[in-house]
């Protein structure tokens, strides 16, 4: 299979292999070369073997074979005359890891084109036949024609101009758009009592609250509320549906601005079954001992030491798979949270242990970036309530499925103020719980990064049918085009058909000439089902040892370290750096290398999060790993 001129350009640094038998005297063109995309398979099956003498595609193009080459022969210097060997020195540089070096614009220079590009612009040389011809052209003239002829060289020029402009307008002050103040109240004990109240650091929950919560929802037939302290982490629980912060707005403050009161040390955990005992959203069980099923301290998970107010909601038989079922379970649980919110509103200011001010800046003159978060929108538990009245609440919000899954712009502060209530899909390890959005690390890091101008966070649902996926994806493309950003980061949770729209979102943005980084759990089990040429800047959220959905809550979700990698990658790409091609198989070391590159650039260490090996192993996980 021969390759095209475009492929040859893209793979100028890859090994050159003849695709068929060619006689001595052939001048090598792209059509004489094998596609590097299939080298891995050929190498694995032993049909192909490279050594240090194998030339690259850039080196052999235009050279003349002096020996007959059989099909699938790695081409070496002794087979040619007229080789393009001057690329040698720069070859290494291009293959360097680029993450974390946003200014390394020189890496885009593709020297391979230099000898062939002299015929662009003014200077045209055509030699029909000849031997030992030496051409000497003054360097300034050559440089001129190279810049005109080689698009890559042109890009470097533009980047340099852009960099100069940036230094000139760097003085522009950051523009403060809005602030959000989070007042933290510490709770150390949760008990049942006659009325819901907070005294000091003790939260008392009305003991007869559950029946009222049940009554509030037609589909809910029963509910139990448990208080789980750290001493009870080793107890059995139904599948964890969601983890939510307890927070409320002060007075008439709108979500994303003004004051929010939040309880530290306690979270609400939603679990549920239907009357037949089937878990809500049941697709195989992941229930079990809490401490074996939770990856502590993830953005979306409980922190170790948190007290859980755990609801177990029973919904009508057979409704566990229909849209109203999971929503009813969440709404009934929120009935309890709302009662706590109401007492939190009345609490004395003197009990605030920490005041945190979050500021949304726009940074004129910096590279404009947008974050796109793809959320589930296939229905039932694959749904999210957007912009409820209360942080992480339900009331006042709209399900993204009802909003047609179309792109919706939220301010970073609306996200961090609980603007998304996740009904959370299947796949405990990779789903983003409600608490995840409240502490979304990518939004936090991007908002606080002085090197970029984060303009918005766009949420886009993932519908079921492909035509709907492309419908929303095209709207995303138009939205991003209108925003006129230089870079975008697209994230998605979990894996499955949402990877089809994930790929399409990246394509829609990439085809408009913007740099785009994709973030997803992929590794082994979540490998992407589709791809396109714009999916070159990818960050894998996997943390599990085996690269699988390990049934440990939040294990493979987006963490700070992933956010920093993605931002480093995006900034490098916007600065003009190239990215290395992917390895054929999942290799966790790529992540570590990139993290080290980011650390070098930042000049500080990034704490690596733990994975499932840090928690007691459940028997089922043990047996899963045993077979690997």
């Amino acid at each position: 299979m021969s390759i095209t001129i475009e492929t040859a350009k893209e793979h100028a640094m890859d090994h050159a292999v003849s695709c068929c038998r060619f006689e001595a005297g052939t001048i090598i063109e792209p059509s004489n070369l094998e596609d590097p995309a299939i080298f891995f398979d050929l190498e694995e099956s032993g049909l192909l073997k490279f050594d240090e003498n194998t030339l690259t595609i850039g080196e052999v193009l235009g050279a003349k074979l002096i020996k007959t080459a059989e099909a699938l022969t790695p081409l070496t210097a002794d087979m040619f005359e007229g080789l393009n060997l001057q690329t040698e020195a720069v070859k290494e540089e291009v293959k360097e890891e680029i993450v974390g070096t946003p200014t390394a614009a020189t890496e885009t220079v593709a020297p391979a084109s230099m000898t062939t590009s002299l015929n662009g612009g003014m200077l045209k040389i055509h030699i029909g036949e000849g031997k030992n011809i030496n051409l000497e052209i003054p360097m300034f003239a050559a440089q001129g024609s190279v810049a005109a002829a080689a698009p890559t060289a042109k890009i470097v020029e533009v980047q340099e101009t852009a960099a100069t402009t940036e230094t000139e307008i760097k003085e522009l002050p950051a523009k403060k758009l809005r602030t959000l103040t989070k007042k933290h109240y510490k709770i150390e004990n949760v008990v049942f009592g006659d009325e819901t109240k907070i005294e000091g650091t003790t939260l008392t929950l009305r003991k007869d609250i559950a029946p009222e919560a049940v009554e509030s929802q037609e589909l809910v037939t029963a509910m139990t509320v448990e208080i789980i302290t750290p001493a009870e982490y080793d107890t059995y629980s139904e599948t964890i549906m969601d983890v939510q912060p307890i927070a409320t707005k002060e007075d008439d403050n709108f979500l994303g601005t003004g004051n929010t009161r939040v309880i530290d040390g306690v979270i609400v955990m939603v679990t549920g079954v239907d009357e037949d005992g089937v878990q809500i959203g049941e697709f195989g069980s992941s229930e079990g001992i809490l401490s074996e099923n939770i990856m502590w301290d993830r953005p979306g998970a409980p922190d170790k030491g948190d007290i859980f107010i755990k609801t177990t909601v029973t919904i009508k038989a057979g409704t566990n798979m229909e849209r109203p079922g999971p929503l009813a379970a969440h709404t009934a649980s929120d009935f309890i949270t709302q009662e706590i919110r109401n007492v939190l509103k009345k609490m004395d200011e003197s009990l605030v242990v920490e005041t945190e001010e979050l500021v949304q800046f726009r940074r004129p003159g910096k590279k404009k970036v947008v974050i796109i978060k793809e959320i589930m929108g296939q229905g039932a538990m694959h749904d999210n309530i957007i912009l409820p009245t209360e942080p992480a609440g339900i009331m006042g919000g709209k399900p993204n499925v009802d909003l047609g899954n179309l792109p919706i712009v939220l301010s970073p502060l609306e996200v961090l103020d609980g603007g998304v209530h996740a009904l959370t899909c299947i796949g405990p390890a990779s789903k983003e719980c409600t608490r995840h959005y409240y502490r979304e690390p990518l939004v936090i890091e991007a908002m606080n990064d002085p090197e970029i101008d984060l303009c918005a966070v766009i949420f886009i649902g993932s519908p079921q049918v492909n035509s709907e996926k492309f419908y929303v994806s095209e709207r995303l493309g138009m939205t991003v085009e209108a925003l006129d950003v230089e870079g975008a980061i697209v994230t998605t949770e979990g894996f499955g058909n949402n990877h089809i729209d994930f790929a399409s979102h990246i394509e829609q943005i990439g085809m408009r000439g913007m740099k785009v980084v994709g973030m997803s759990f992929s590794a082994v089990q979540g490998a992407l089902v589709v791809g396109n040429k714009y999916m070159e800047l990818m960050v894998d959220n996997n943390k599990s040892e085996e690269g699988i959905e390990n049934e440990v809550l939040s294990c493979n979700t987006l963490c700070k370290e992933d956010a920093l990698r993605a931002l480093g990658m995006l900034k490098s790409a916007m600065g003009g750096s190239e990215v290395k091609g992917p390895e054929r198989k999942w290799n966790p070391n790529v992540k570590e290398t990139n993290l080290e590159a980011v650390e070098t650039h930042m000049g500080s260490n990034i704490d690596r999060v733990l994975n499932e090996t840090s928690i007691p192993m459940s028997e089922k996980r043990e047996s899963k790993l045993k077979t690997k």
């Binding site: 089937v278 069980s285 079921q464 049918v465 459940s618 077979t627």
Partner: protein, 82 residues
């Protein structure tokens, strides 16, 4: 897995659709499969009676041991979650 790469083309019929997932019978009386919406790829609005196809291999039993945790979960489910 010993036989993981022996892919066999399977066909099936969608027999039940809920908001959360899709159930399908495998043609040739070869079994039944239920998957979450997220794991099914479609160009068309879903309807009962539509045919599906996919490649799969044979499920292989991983070891002779049973996993007590799963056994207890299964028994609990049989008792209606009690």
């Amino acid at each position: 897995m010993k036989y993981g790469d022996r892919l066999i083309k399977m066909q099936g019929i969608i027999v039940h659709i809920s908001d959360g997932g899709v159930a399908m019978d495998l043609k040739g009386r070869l079994g039944h499969l239920t998957v979450p919406m997220r794991m099914l790829i479609t160009d068309y609005d879903l309807k009962v009676g539509q045919e599906v196809e996919f490649n799969m291999s044979f499920p292989e039993v991983m070891s002779g041991e049973v996993n007590q945790k799963y056994v207890s979960n299964i028994e609990k489910n049989k008792r209606g979650g009690k």
